[in-house]
């Protein structure tokens, strides 16, 4: 199978998944024990018969369930995710505003946890069953087992409150203006505009939340790297390399790592999607204006249109990340394309 066919197949497989996602969000929004009219337009507007009538027509509430689902999908395709009860803004607009901040945070965390996790995993595998391996096992599991919200609170208190090393929560100092850039990522945009004061401040603000978020993913990456390296060390070509007299260092660098990194890259990609989960809590505590914080605010205000919109948006990102990982996998390992 050529790479093109492989990619096309992956993209086509996305369709049933997307169908399933919309179906589930639809079911969830219809299964709740409260009146959907009140939940979606709020108490005040529900008192006005005209607004209620318009809402019923738009979402097809007076029709059968399958027709309601069709109306739902039709509105989605038009980019209409409903209007937030709290801000009275279109949910899609809010999501567009919050999207770059989350991507910036998740990318930084994926980089930190990827680099650190892969190194620690290799060390643990090479010295397997040593005392060091045990220490690393506990250390890497520590990150995943610590409640992220408490870690974030503690990090803020110590590094901002006590030591003053970190800036206060937020994306940028209040005195600086955000760069008006194409990407929405403050770091990329400030570099594009050669605004180095903003760049340095943005990096400083990003550092602490991304380290906290990275600790959550670190454990998984370390463990997967460790077992991938151990697997690769078991292979016949490693035995051959040793037999022909290569030094242990050459065996590890040339033969083991290159083969072990294939599954590891996949996991780093998957973790990137998983970081969306941790982002809900990290962003909330660091006042990071991303999708996770938006989701949390929506949930705590019981702002139903916003909750459903952001759930849909995050899961679509999640699915697309998985797709990219799949495609990358096909690039790296030609054997994958066959199956």
């Amino acid at each position: 199978m050529t790479l093109q066919v492989y990619i096309a197949r992956r993209v086509l497989l996305l369709l049933p998944t997307l169908f399933g996602i919309t179906l589930i969000t639809f079911v969830v929004s219809h299964a709740m024990p409260v009146d959907p009219v009140v939940a979606f337009i709020g108490d005040k507007a529900a008192g006005n018969p005209e607004i209620v009538q318009a809402f019923r027509e738009k979402w097809g509430l007076d029709k059968s369930l399958p027709q309601q689902y069709l109306a739902y999908v039709r509105n989605l395709l038009r980019g209409d995710l409903g209007v937030s009860l709290r801000s009275q803004r279109a949910v899609l607009e809010s999501i567009k505003d919050h999207f770059p901040a989350t991507i910036e945070l998740a990318t930084a965390s994926a980089l930190i946890s990827g680099v650190l996790g892969i190194s620690l995993g290799i060390v643990a595998a090479i010295w397997r069953d040593s005392f060091l391996d045990q220490i690393l096992r506990v250390f890497s599991l520590f990150g995943t087992s610590t409640p992220v919200f408490w870690l974030a609170l503690t990090a803020i208190t110590i590094f901002y409150g006590k030591l003053g090393w970190a800036p206060p929560p937020g994306r940028l100092d209040v005195l600086l203006t955000a760069p008006a850039g194409p990407s929405g990522s403050y770091i990329l945009d400030s570099l594009l505009h050669r605004d180095f004061a903003v760049f340095i401040d943005a990096v400083k603000h990003l550092l602490l939340p991304s380290i906290v978020l990275a600790s959550y993913a670190l454990g998984l990456i370390t463990r997967v790297t460790r077992s991938a390296v151990l697997d690769a060390m078991d292979e016949d070509y490693v035995r051959t390399a040793r037999a022909k007299g290569l030094t242990e260092r050459a065996v590890v660098y040339i033969h083991v790592l290159r083969n072990a990194l294939i599954p590891v890259i996949t996991v780093v990609g998957l973790v990137y999607g998983g970081l969306m989960e941790g982002a809900v809590l990290t962003e909330t505590i660091f006042s990071w204006p991303g999708m996770g914080r938006y989701a949390y605010q929506a949930a705590s205000d019981l702002d139903f249109p916003a909750i459903m919109g952001v759930t849909l948006a995050i899961s679509v990102i999640y699915v697309i990340t998985n797709l990219i990982v799949d495609i990358l996998y096909g690039f790296i390992d030609p054997r994958i394309r066959v199956t």
Binding site: P16, T17, F19, G20, I21, L23, I24, T25, V28, S29, A31, M32, P33, R128, D129, Q134, R137, V138, L141, F142, T144, S145, T146, P147, V148, F149, W150, L153, T154, T157, G219, R223, S227, L230, D231, D234, G273, G274, M276, E277, V280, L281, T284, I285, A295, Y296, A298, A299, S300, L302, F304, I307, M308, V310, T311, I314, S315, Y318, V319, N322
Partner: protein, 314 residues
Amino acid sequence: MTEGVSDKTTYNNKSRVGRREPSSRFRRWQFVRDFMIAVRYTLASTISVLVIVGWLCTVVAAPVLVPGDPTSQDLDARLSAPSISHPFGTDQLGRDVLTRVLYGGRTSIPLGIGVVTVAAVLGTLIGSVAGYMGGAIDEVLMRIADAVLSFPSIVLAMALAAALGPGLSHSMVAIVFVWWPRYSRLMRGMVLSVKQKEFVVGARAVGASEKRIIMYHIWPNAFPPVLINATLDIGRGIMMGAWLGFLGLGAVPPTPEWGSMVASGAKVFQQWWVSTFPSLAILSIVLSLNILGDTIRDLNDPRTRTLRGMRTRE
């Protein structure tokens, strides 16, 4: 390959492929033995087991072990620092944090065990049906599972818990809804592979009924991996419950629950003890479960399994 040959050549990897299927009764005890080996395997796993047992005792016997009431308030002693009378200090309402942390285990730990049990039972049933029936039923069930799996679990659970309204049982429903697919996928895979084994074909050949084949031949052999996975997931269940509790979508006050205790402690973070001790409680049990799980996983994987303290199977 005959039975005799495979018994004598355990050192040869290739001979294991054709070895005789162990009987289901033997399999079941294998896991208990593996577990015992894992417990003794490293210092960390031994400590983990002690911590887990300690928490389980607390859950069962909290009213006997812990003096005082987790909801009794003493407004004169609000936010007092750890001392001899209050080893973990008190919270905003003057409630003893130690008592609340210990009682909090009675909410959080059963919640973790409960959601994993329900999700595993549900997932196992759906997975067995999908694997055994095959065809269109299998296709439909697995596509639904895939769709649920493509949601980040905390986000979907948050949306569900928000839709149902805050409350312990609602957050449990939300977590179960998000989690059953992972077990049904595993169970389906196991059923599919066991279904083709010689002993199932043999049972059918000697005229065993479908019910008997499912109950006595497929189930006992397909279920243990699901059971192990579910046990290892309890830590994640506890963590997920704490997350929802922290977000205000879990237990309703004044029920002591770790996540919501951290959330209320976050408002007075200068009084570090209010939020730190419940967090350490979460950390202690989740870390212990994770270390134990990681060790068992390691021992179960023939490629990462080492020889120290562990004979190769059979």
